[in-house]
Protein backbone atom coordinates (compact mmCIF):
# COMPACT_ATOMS: atom_id res chain seq x y z
CA UNK A 1 0.00 0.00 0.00
CA UNK A 2 2.77 2.37 0.95
CA UNK A 3 4.52 1.57 -2.29
CA UNK A 4 1.41 2.39 -4.29
CA UNK A 5 1.13 5.71 -2.50
CA UNK A 6 4.76 6.49 -3.31
CA UNK A 7 4.18 5.54 -6.92
CA UNK A 8 1.09 7.70 -7.16
CA UNK A 9 2.96 10.61 -5.59
CA UNK A 10 5.83 10.35 -8.03
CA UNK A 11 3.44 10.05 -10.94
CA UNK A 12 1.79 13.27 -9.78
CA UNK A 13 5.15 15.02 -9.54
CA UNK A 14 6.05 13.89 -13.06
CA UNK A 15 2.66 15.00 -14.34
CA UNK A 16 3.05 18.39 -12.68
CA UNK A 17 6.41 18.81 -14.37
CA UNK A 18 5.03 17.92 -17.79
CA UNK A 19 1.84 19.91 -17.64
CA UNK A 20 2.26 23.62 -17.69
CA UNK A 21 -0.57 25.87 -16.69
CA UNK A 22 -2.17 27.62 -19.62
CA UNK A 23 -0.77 31.04 -20.32
CA UNK A 24 -2.37 33.83 -18.40
CA UNK A 25 -4.98 35.75 -20.35
CA UNK A 26 -2.89 38.87 -20.96
CA UNK A 27 -0.27 36.95 -22.94
CA UNK A 28 -1.41 36.20 -26.47
CA UNK A 29 0.50 33.41 -28.19
CA UNK A 30 0.72 33.91 -31.94
CA UNK A 31 1.23 30.85 -34.13
CA UNK A 32 3.20 31.23 -37.32
CA UNK A 33 4.96 28.89 -39.71
CA UNK A 34 8.67 28.03 -39.66
CA UNK A 35 8.45 27.93 -43.45
CA UNK A 36 9.42 31.38 -44.70
CA UNK A 37 6.94 33.25 -46.90
CA UNK A 38 8.81 36.34 -48.00
CA UNK A 39 8.29 39.22 -47.71
CA UNK A 40 5.62 38.43 -45.09
CA UNK A 41 7.46 35.95 -42.88
CA UNK A 42 11.21 35.40 -42.71
CA UNK A 43 13.23 33.48 -40.17
CA UNK A 44 16.97 33.82 -39.58
CA UNK A 45 19.45 31.19 -38.29
CA UNK A 46 18.89 32.30 -34.69
CA UNK A 47 15.18 31.61 -35.07
CA UNK A 48 14.38 35.33 -35.10
CA UNK A 49 11.26 36.17 -37.07
CA UNK A 50 10.98 39.17 -39.33
CA UNK A 51 8.92 40.35 -42.28
CA UNK A 52 5.87 42.50 -42.88
CA UNK A 53 3.37 40.22 -41.19
CA UNK A 54 5.56 39.71 -38.11
CA UNK A 55 6.17 43.45 -37.63
CA UNK A 56 2.52 44.18 -38.22
CA UNK A 57 1.32 41.60 -35.69
CA UNK A 58 3.72 43.00 -33.09
CA UNK A 59 2.40 46.49 -33.74
CA UNK A 60 -1.16 45.17 -33.33
CA UNK A 61 -0.18 43.60 -29.98
CA UNK A 62 1.35 46.88 -28.81
CA UNK A 63 -1.79 48.76 -29.85
CA UNK A 64 -4.01 46.24 -28.05
CA UNK A 65 -1.71 46.50 -24.99
CA UNK A 66 -1.20 42.75 -24.80
CA UNK A 67 2.07 40.87 -24.54
CA UNK A 68 2.56 38.58 -27.53
CA UNK A 69 4.74 35.52 -27.88
CA UNK A 70 5.53 33.62 -31.06
CA UNK A 71 5.00 29.90 -31.41
CA UNK A 72 6.18 28.00 -34.49
CA UNK A 73 3.88 25.43 -36.06
CA UNK A 74 4.12 23.86 -39.50
CA UNK A 75 1.36 25.01 -41.87
CA UNK A 76 -0.18 21.51 -42.21
CA UNK A 77 -1.28 21.38 -38.59
CA UNK A 78 -1.76 25.04 -37.85
CA UNK A 79 -5.57 25.03 -37.47
CA UNK A 80 -5.68 21.88 -35.28
CA UNK A 81 -2.92 23.39 -33.13
CA UNK A 82 -4.97 26.58 -32.71
CA UNK A 83 -8.02 24.53 -31.71
CA UNK A 84 -5.88 22.54 -29.25
CA UNK A 85 -4.79 25.83 -27.65
CA UNK A 86 -1.12 25.49 -28.54
CA UNK A 87 -1.47 29.20 -29.28
CA UNK A 88 -4.27 31.75 -29.45
CA UNK A 89 -4.15 33.26 -32.94
CA UNK A 90 -2.75 32.32 -36.33
CA UNK A 91 -0.55 34.86 -38.10
CA UNK A 92 0.42 33.06 -41.29
CA UNK A 93 -1.03 34.89 -44.30
CA UNK A 94 -4.22 32.92 -43.86
CA UNK A 95 -6.92 34.16 -46.22
CA UNK A 96 -10.34 34.69 -44.73
CA UNK A 97 -12.66 32.24 -46.50
CA UNK A 98 -16.08 30.83 -45.69
CA UNK A 99 -14.67 27.32 -45.67
CA UNK A 100 -12.24 28.16 -42.86
CA UNK A 101 -14.97 30.12 -41.07
CA UNK A 102 -16.68 26.81 -40.36
CA UNK A 103 -13.92 25.95 -37.86
CA UNK A 104 -12.24 29.21 -36.85
CA UNK A 105 -13.15 32.84 -36.52
CA UNK A 106 -11.24 35.74 -38.09
CA UNK A 107 -10.35 39.25 -37.00
CA UNK A 108 -10.77 42.01 -39.53
CA UNK A 109 -8.30 41.73 -42.38
CA UNK A 110 -4.83 43.20 -41.96
CA UNK A 111 -3.77 42.90 -45.55
CA UNK A 112 -5.24 41.89 -48.86
CA UNK A 113 -2.62 41.37 -51.49
CA UNK A 114 -4.27 42.15 -54.79
CA UNK A 115 -4.24 39.93 -57.84
CA UNK A 116 -2.80 40.86 -61.20
CA UNK A 117 -2.56 39.66 -64.76
CA UNK A 118 0.89 39.28 -66.33
CA UNK A 119 1.59 39.01 -70.05
CA UNK A 120 4.30 39.65 -72.66
CA UNK A 121 5.55 43.22 -72.94
CA UNK A 122 5.13 43.24 -76.72
CA UNK A 123 1.53 42.09 -76.56
CA UNK A 124 -1.13 44.77 -76.13
CA UNK A 125 -3.90 43.47 -73.88
CA UNK A 126 -6.45 45.28 -71.73
CA UNK A 127 -8.28 43.48 -68.99
CA UNK A 128 -11.72 43.78 -70.53
CA UNK A 129 -14.03 41.14 -71.92
CA UNK A 130 -13.49 42.44 -75.48
CA UNK A 131 -9.72 42.51 -75.28
CA UNK A 132 -9.54 39.07 -73.62
CA UNK A 133 -11.76 37.53 -76.29
CA UNK A 134 -10.10 34.37 -77.63
CA UNK A 135 -7.09 34.66 -75.32
CA UNK A 136 -5.76 31.83 -73.14
CA UNK A 137 -5.25 32.52 -69.43
CA UNK A 138 -3.22 30.33 -67.09
CA UNK A 139 -4.14 29.97 -63.41
CA UNK A 140 -3.30 27.65 -60.52
CA UNK A 141 -6.08 25.13 -59.88
CA UNK A 142 -8.51 25.53 -56.94
CA UNK A 143 -7.33 28.95 -55.92
CA UNK A 144 -9.35 32.05 -55.29
CA UNK A 145 -7.98 33.29 -58.63
CA UNK A 146 -9.28 30.26 -60.52
CA UNK A 147 -12.74 30.86 -59.02
CA UNK A 148 -12.57 34.47 -60.15
CA UNK A 149 -11.67 33.59 -63.76
CA UNK A 150 -14.37 30.94 -63.93
CA UNK A 151 -17.09 33.36 -62.98
CA UNK A 152 -15.84 36.40 -64.92
CA UNK A 153 -14.21 35.33 -68.17
CA UNK A 154 -15.28 31.75 -68.78
CA UNK A 155 -17.33 32.63 -71.86
CA UNK A 156 -14.77 34.78 -73.66
CA UNK A 157 -11.35 33.32 -72.84
CA UNK A 158 -9.85 29.83 -72.56
CA UNK A 159 -8.80 29.05 -68.98
CA UNK A 160 -5.94 26.62 -68.49
CA UNK A 161 -5.43 25.22 -64.99
CA UNK A 162 -2.07 24.15 -63.56
CA UNK A 163 -1.16 22.21 -60.44
CA UNK A 164 1.38 24.79 -59.35
CA UNK A 165 1.93 28.47 -59.96
CA UNK A 166 5.44 27.64 -61.17
CA UNK A 167 4.05 25.49 -64.02
CA UNK A 168 1.59 28.19 -65.03
CA UNK A 169 4.47 30.68 -65.19
CA UNK A 170 6.58 28.26 -67.24
CA UNK A 171 3.85 27.92 -69.87
CA UNK A 172 3.54 31.70 -70.07
CA UNK A 173 7.30 31.95 -70.67
CA UNK A 174 7.04 29.17 -73.28
CA UNK A 175 4.31 31.15 -75.08
CA UNK A 176 1.54 28.55 -74.69
CA UNK A 177 -0.73 30.99 -72.88
CA UNK A 178 -1.23 34.74 -73.23
CA UNK A 179 -1.68 35.70 -69.58
CA UNK A 180 -1.43 34.39 -66.05
CA UNK A 181 -3.60 35.53 -63.16
CA UNK A 182 -2.28 35.15 -59.61
CA UNK A 183 -1.41 36.93 -56.39
CA UNK A 184 0.52 40.06 -57.36
CA UNK A 185 3.28 39.57 -54.81
CA UNK A 186 3.75 35.93 -55.77
CA UNK A 187 4.02 36.93 -59.44
CA UNK A 188 6.31 39.85 -58.65
CA UNK A 189 8.79 37.67 -56.72
CA UNK A 190 8.27 34.42 -58.60
CA UNK A 191 8.27 35.72 -62.18
CA UNK A 192 8.79 39.42 -62.88
CA UNK A 193 11.88 39.77 -60.69
CA UNK A 194 13.54 36.65 -62.10
CA UNK A 195 15.73 36.54 -65.22
CA UNK A 196 12.96 34.74 -67.13
CA UNK A 197 10.53 37.53 -66.34
CA UNK A 198 12.39 40.28 -68.25
CA UNK A 199 10.01 40.20 -71.24
CA UNK A 200 6.86 40.28 -69.12
CA UNK A 201 4.87 42.96 -67.36
CA UNK A 202 1.69 43.57 -65.39
CA UNK A 203 -1.38 44.04 -67.59
CA UNK A 204 -3.97 46.41 -66.18
CA UNK A 205 -3.97 47.39 -62.48
CA UNK A 206 -3.61 45.14 -59.49
CA UNK A 207 -7.09 44.49 -58.17
CA UNK A 208 -9.14 42.79 -55.48
CA UNK A 209 -12.59 41.28 -55.69
CA UNK A 210 -15.12 39.76 -53.31
CA UNK A 211 -14.76 36.52 -55.25
CA UNK A 212 -11.13 36.28 -54.18
CA UNK A 213 -11.68 36.03 -50.45
CA UNK A 214 -11.71 38.87 -47.97
CA UNK A 215 -8.03 39.34 -47.33
CA UNK A 216 -5.79 37.98 -44.60
CA UNK A 217 -6.66 38.17 -40.91
CA UNK A 218 -5.81 36.71 -37.52
CA UNK A 219 -7.55 33.35 -37.11
CA UNK A 220 -8.81 32.69 -33.57
CA UNK A 221 -10.89 30.01 -31.87
CA UNK A 222 -14.61 30.60 -32.30
CA UNK A 223 -15.22 31.04 -28.57
CA UNK A 224 -12.53 33.73 -28.26
CA UNK A 225 -14.75 36.57 -29.43
CA UNK A 226 -13.14 39.01 -27.00
CA UNK A 227 -9.67 38.39 -28.48
CA UNK A 228 -11.07 38.64 -32.00
CA UNK A 229 -12.68 42.01 -31.28
CA UNK A 230 -9.56 43.26 -29.52
CA UNK A 231 -7.40 42.39 -32.54
CA UNK A 232 -9.88 43.88 -34.99
CA UNK A 233 -9.97 47.12 -32.96
CA UNK A 234 -6.17 47.22 -32.76
CA UNK A 235 -5.83 46.78 -36.53
CA UNK A 236 -8.19 49.75 -36.97
CA UNK A 237 -6.11 51.64 -34.39
CA UNK A 238 -2.80 51.25 -36.21
CA UNK A 239 -4.53 52.01 -39.50
CA UNK A 240 -5.72 55.29 -38.01
CA UNK A 241 -2.51 56.39 -36.28
CA UNK A 242 -0.17 55.81 -39.21
CA UNK A 243 1.76 52.86 -37.75
CA UNK A 244 0.34 50.55 -40.38
CA UNK A 245 1.45 52.79 -43.22
CA UNK A 246 4.98 53.24 -41.89
CA UNK A 247 5.42 49.45 -41.64
CA UNK A 248 3.82 48.74 -45.03
CA UNK A 249 5.95 51.39 -46.77
CA UNK A 250 9.09 49.49 -45.76
CA UNK A 251 7.94 46.47 -47.77
CA UNK A 252 5.56 47.55 -50.52
CA UNK A 253 5.29 50.30 -53.07
CA UNK A 254 1.50 50.01 -53.19
CA UNK A 255 -1.33 49.86 -50.66
CA UNK A 256 -1.19 46.31 -49.30
CA UNK A 257 -4.33 46.80 -47.20
CA UNK A 258 -6.55 46.85 -50.27
CA UNK A 259 -10.00 48.44 -50.36
Amino acid sequence: MKRIATLAASALIVAAALLQPAAAQDVVRLGTTPEPYPPFINIDPNGKLSGFEIELAEAVCAEAKVKCEWVLQAWEGIIPALLEKKFDAIVASMSITDERRQVVDFSGKYYDSPAMFVGRKDQDIDITAESLNGKTIAVQVSTIHANYLESKFKDVATIKSYDTQENANLDLIAGRVDLVLADSIALEDGLLKTADGADFERKGDTFTDKLMGEGVGFAVRKEDTALRDKLTAAIAGIRANGTYKSIADKYFSFDIYGN
Binding site: L18, E35, P36, P45, G47, A74, G77, E84, K86
Partner: protein, 237 residues
Amino acid sequence: MLESLGLIGFGDGGWGFALLGGALVTIEIAVASYVVGILLGLVGAWAKISGPGWVKAIGAGYTSVVRGVPEILVIFLIYYGGTSAIRSLTALIVPGVDVQIAAFPAAVAALGFIAGAYATEIFRGSLLAIDPGQREAGRALSLRPYQVFGLIVLPQALRLAVPAFGNLWLVVLKDSALISVVGIRDLLGIGQTAALSTRQPFTFYTTVALIFLLISTVSMVAFHLAERRLARGQSSR
Protein backbone atom coordinates in the same frame (compact mmCIF):
# COMPACT_ATOMS: atom_id res chain seq x y z
CA MET B 1 30.31 26.21 -53.48
CA LEU B 2 32.11 28.57 -51.08
CA GLU B 3 28.86 30.42 -50.65
CA SER B 4 27.15 27.18 -49.59
CA LEU B 5 29.90 26.50 -47.07
CA GLY B 6 29.28 29.93 -45.59
CA LEU B 7 25.57 29.14 -45.22
CA ILE B 8 26.14 25.97 -43.24
CA GLY B 9 29.07 27.54 -41.36
CA PHE B 10 29.15 29.25 -37.99
CA GLY B 11 29.78 32.80 -39.16
CA ASP B 12 27.34 35.65 -39.58
CA GLY B 13 24.21 34.43 -41.35
CA GLY B 14 25.45 30.84 -41.19
CA TRP B 15 23.07 28.12 -40.05
CA GLY B 16 25.76 26.03 -38.30
CA PHE B 17 24.77 26.77 -34.71
CA ALA B 18 21.08 26.44 -35.54
CA LEU B 19 21.69 23.00 -37.08
CA LEU B 20 23.76 21.88 -34.07
CA GLY B 21 20.97 23.06 -31.76
CA GLY B 22 18.51 21.08 -33.86
CA ALA B 23 20.74 18.01 -33.68
CA LEU B 24 20.77 18.31 -29.89
CA VAL B 25 16.95 18.49 -29.80
CA THR B 26 16.79 15.42 -32.05
CA ILE B 27 19.11 13.47 -29.74
CA GLU B 28 17.19 14.56 -26.64
CA ILE B 29 13.87 13.50 -28.13
CA ALA B 30 15.27 10.21 -29.41
CA VAL B 31 16.95 9.27 -26.09
CA ALA B 32 13.90 10.20 -24.01
CA SER B 33 11.52 8.33 -26.33
CA TYR B 34 13.83 5.33 -26.35
CA VAL B 35 13.85 5.16 -22.55
CA VAL B 36 10.06 5.50 -22.42
CA GLY B 37 9.79 2.84 -25.12
CA ILE B 38 11.99 0.38 -23.21
CA LEU B 39 9.99 0.85 -20.00
CA LEU B 40 6.73 0.36 -21.89
CA GLY B 41 8.29 -2.65 -23.60
CA LEU B 42 9.10 -4.31 -20.26
CA VAL B 43 5.54 -3.80 -19.05
CA GLY B 44 4.14 -4.92 -22.39
CA ALA B 45 6.24 -8.08 -22.49
CA TRP B 46 5.18 -8.95 -18.96
CA ALA B 47 1.54 -8.36 -19.93
CA LYS B 48 1.75 -10.52 -23.02
CA ILE B 49 3.66 -13.38 -21.36
CA SER B 50 2.27 -13.73 -17.88
CA GLY B 51 -0.51 -11.21 -17.38
CA PRO B 52 -4.08 -12.30 -16.68
CA GLY B 53 -6.25 -12.80 -19.76
CA TRP B 54 -7.59 -9.26 -20.08
CA VAL B 55 -4.08 -7.78 -19.59
CA LYS B 56 -2.79 -10.10 -22.30
CA ALA B 57 -5.53 -8.81 -24.57
CA ILE B 58 -4.57 -5.19 -23.92
CA GLY B 59 -0.92 -6.01 -24.63
CA ALA B 60 -1.81 -7.77 -27.87
CA GLY B 61 -4.07 -4.90 -28.90
CA TYR B 62 -1.34 -2.34 -28.16
CA THR B 63 1.35 -4.02 -30.24
CA SER B 64 -0.88 -4.83 -33.18
CA VAL B 65 -2.50 -1.39 -33.37
CA VAL B 66 0.72 0.60 -33.04
CA ARG B 67 2.70 -1.57 -35.39
CA GLY B 68 -0.14 -1.60 -37.91
CA VAL B 69 -0.81 2.14 -38.11
CA PRO B 70 1.45 4.71 -39.79
CA GLU B 71 3.68 6.35 -37.20
CA ILE B 72 2.85 9.87 -38.30
CA LEU B 73 -0.80 9.08 -37.56
CA VAL B 74 0.02 7.90 -34.03
CA ILE B 75 1.90 11.16 -33.50
CA PHE B 76 -1.06 13.24 -34.67
CA LEU B 77 -3.45 11.18 -32.53
CA ILE B 78 -1.38 11.61 -29.38
CA TYR B 79 -0.28 15.18 -30.00
CA TYR B 80 -3.73 16.54 -30.84
CA GLY B 81 -6.15 13.91 -29.52
CA GLY B 82 -4.20 12.91 -26.40
CA THR B 83 -3.71 16.42 -25.16
CA SER B 84 -7.37 17.27 -25.50
CA ALA B 85 -8.26 14.05 -23.65
CA ILE B 86 -5.96 15.00 -20.78
CA ARG B 87 -7.38 18.49 -20.76
CA SER B 88 -10.95 17.21 -20.51
CA LEU B 89 -9.87 14.85 -17.73
CA THR B 90 -8.20 17.53 -15.62
CA ALA B 91 -11.16 19.81 -16.23
CA LEU B 92 -13.38 17.08 -14.74
CA ILE B 93 -11.20 16.62 -11.67
CA VAL B 94 -10.31 20.26 -11.08
CA PRO B 95 -12.93 22.39 -12.82
CA GLY B 96 -11.72 25.69 -14.19
CA VAL B 97 -8.12 24.61 -14.55
CA ASP B 98 -6.90 24.53 -18.10
CA VAL B 99 -3.61 22.76 -18.66
CA GLN B 100 -1.38 22.66 -21.68
CA ILE B 101 1.02 19.90 -22.57
CA ALA B 102 4.29 21.27 -23.84
CA ALA B 103 5.33 20.09 -27.28
CA PHE B 104 8.42 18.24 -26.07
CA PRO B 105 6.76 15.80 -23.59
CA ALA B 106 3.92 15.26 -26.04
CA ALA B 107 6.43 14.33 -28.74
CA VAL B 108 8.30 12.02 -26.38
CA ALA B 109 5.05 10.37 -25.31
CA ALA B 110 4.06 9.78 -28.93
CA LEU B 111 7.42 8.40 -30.06
CA GLY B 112 7.88 6.41 -26.85
CA PHE B 113 4.44 4.88 -27.28
CA ILE B 114 5.43 3.73 -30.77
CA ALA B 115 8.85 2.44 -29.68
CA GLY B 116 7.20 0.62 -26.76
CA ALA B 117 5.24 -1.61 -29.12
CA TYR B 118 8.40 -2.75 -30.86
CA ALA B 119 10.29 -3.07 -27.56
CA THR B 120 7.46 -5.29 -26.23
CA GLU B 121 8.00 -7.75 -29.05
CA ILE B 122 11.79 -7.67 -28.61
CA PHE B 123 11.54 -8.39 -24.88
CA ARG B 124 8.89 -11.03 -25.39
CA GLY B 125 10.95 -12.82 -27.99
CA SER B 126 14.15 -12.79 -25.98
CA LEU B 127 12.44 -13.75 -22.71
CA LEU B 128 10.73 -16.69 -24.38
CA ALA B 129 14.06 -17.76 -25.86
CA ILE B 130 15.46 -18.50 -22.40
CA ASP B 131 15.27 -22.21 -21.68
CA PRO B 132 12.57 -22.99 -19.04
CA GLY B 133 15.19 -25.14 -17.35
CA GLN B 134 16.93 -21.97 -16.23
CA ARG B 135 13.87 -20.88 -14.24
CA GLU B 136 13.45 -24.32 -12.80
CA ALA B 137 17.08 -24.31 -11.71
CA GLY B 138 16.55 -20.95 -10.07
CA ARG B 139 13.48 -22.19 -8.22
CA ALA B 140 15.39 -25.30 -7.17
CA LEU B 141 17.89 -22.97 -5.50
CA SER B 142 14.86 -21.53 -3.66
CA LEU B 143 15.31 -18.10 -5.17
CA ARG B 144 12.29 -15.83 -5.00
CA PRO B 145 10.41 -15.22 -8.31
CA TYR B 146 11.82 -11.68 -8.72
CA GLN B 147 15.32 -13.04 -8.09
CA VAL B 148 14.80 -15.73 -10.71
CA PHE B 149 13.74 -13.02 -13.13
CA GLY B 150 16.34 -10.40 -12.22
CA LEU B 151 19.38 -12.64 -11.65
CA ILE B 152 18.86 -15.45 -14.12
CA VAL B 153 16.34 -14.76 -16.87
CA LEU B 154 16.79 -11.03 -17.55
CA PRO B 155 20.62 -10.98 -17.90
CA GLN B 156 20.48 -13.78 -20.45
CA ALA B 157 17.51 -12.27 -22.27
CA LEU B 158 19.21 -8.88 -22.48
CA ARG B 159 22.17 -10.40 -24.24
CA LEU B 160 19.81 -11.75 -26.87
CA ALA B 161 17.92 -8.47 -27.08
CA VAL B 162 20.83 -6.06 -27.55
CA PRO B 163 21.19 -6.39 -31.34
CA ALA B 164 17.46 -5.80 -31.78
CA PHE B 165 17.60 -2.83 -29.41
CA GLY B 166 20.40 -1.34 -31.45
CA ASN B 167 18.11 -1.60 -34.41
CA LEU B 168 15.21 -0.04 -32.50
CA TRP B 169 17.42 2.89 -31.49
CA LEU B 170 18.13 3.67 -35.14
CA VAL B 171 14.41 3.50 -35.91
CA VAL B 172 13.57 5.86 -33.01
CA LEU B 173 16.33 8.25 -34.06
CA LYS B 174 14.93 8.48 -37.56
CA ASP B 175 11.31 8.61 -36.42
CA SER B 176 12.19 11.64 -34.31
CA ALA B 177 12.37 13.56 -37.58
CA LEU B 178 8.58 13.07 -37.95
CA ILE B 179 8.08 15.29 -34.95
CA SER B 180 9.01 18.42 -36.91
CA VAL B 181 5.42 18.39 -38.23
CA VAL B 182 4.15 19.43 -34.80
CA GLY B 183 6.44 22.44 -34.77
CA ILE B 184 9.39 21.19 -32.74
CA ARG B 185 12.61 22.71 -33.97
CA ASP B 186 14.52 19.48 -34.39
CA LEU B 187 17.32 18.83 -36.87
CA LEU B 188 15.01 18.28 -39.84
CA GLY B 189 12.78 21.21 -38.91
CA ILE B 190 15.75 23.60 -38.77
CA GLY B 191 17.11 22.14 -42.01
CA GLN B 192 13.76 22.73 -43.72
CA THR B 193 13.57 26.34 -42.61
CA ALA B 194 17.16 26.91 -43.72
CA ALA B 195 16.58 25.24 -47.09
CA LEU B 196 13.52 27.40 -47.80
CA SER B 197 15.05 30.62 -46.47
CA THR B 198 18.21 30.32 -48.53
CA ARG B 199 16.65 28.49 -51.50
CA GLN B 200 19.46 25.94 -51.22
CA PRO B 201 17.59 22.70 -50.48
CA PHE B 202 20.34 20.39 -51.67
CA THR B 203 23.01 21.95 -49.46
CA PHE B 204 20.91 21.77 -46.33
CA TYR B 205 19.21 18.42 -46.78
CA THR B 206 22.59 16.86 -47.51
CA THR B 207 24.03 18.44 -44.38
CA VAL B 208 21.08 17.17 -42.31
CA ALA B 209 21.56 13.70 -43.79
CA LEU B 210 25.26 13.73 -42.91
CA ILE B 211 24.53 14.77 -39.32
CA PHE B 212 21.98 11.94 -38.98
CA LEU B 213 24.53 9.55 -40.43
CA LEU B 214 27.16 10.74 -37.97
CA ILE B 215 24.83 10.22 -34.99
CA SER B 216 23.78 6.77 -36.17
CA THR B 217 27.35 5.67 -36.91
CA VAL B 218 28.54 6.68 -33.45
CA SER B 219 25.60 4.88 -31.84
CA MET B 220 26.16 1.74 -33.92
CA VAL B 221 29.73 1.60 -32.64
CA ALA B 222 28.46 2.00 -29.07
CA PHE B 223 25.95 -0.82 -29.51
CA HIS B 224 28.62 -3.00 -31.00
CA LEU B 225 30.81 -2.47 -27.92
CA ALA B 226 27.87 -3.21 -25.65
CA GLU B 227 27.19 -6.43 -27.53
CA ARG B 228 30.80 -7.52 -27.12
CA ARG B 229 30.78 -6.73 -23.41
CA LEU B 230 27.54 -8.63 -22.82
CA ALA B 231 28.89 -11.57 -24.79
CA ARG B 232 32.06 -11.81 -22.70
CA GLY B 233 32.47 -15.25 -21.24
CA GLN B 234 30.50 -16.72 -24.12
CA SER B 235 32.39 -18.77 -26.60
CA SER B 236 32.41 -16.98 -29.92
CA ARG B 237 30.11 -18.73 -32.32
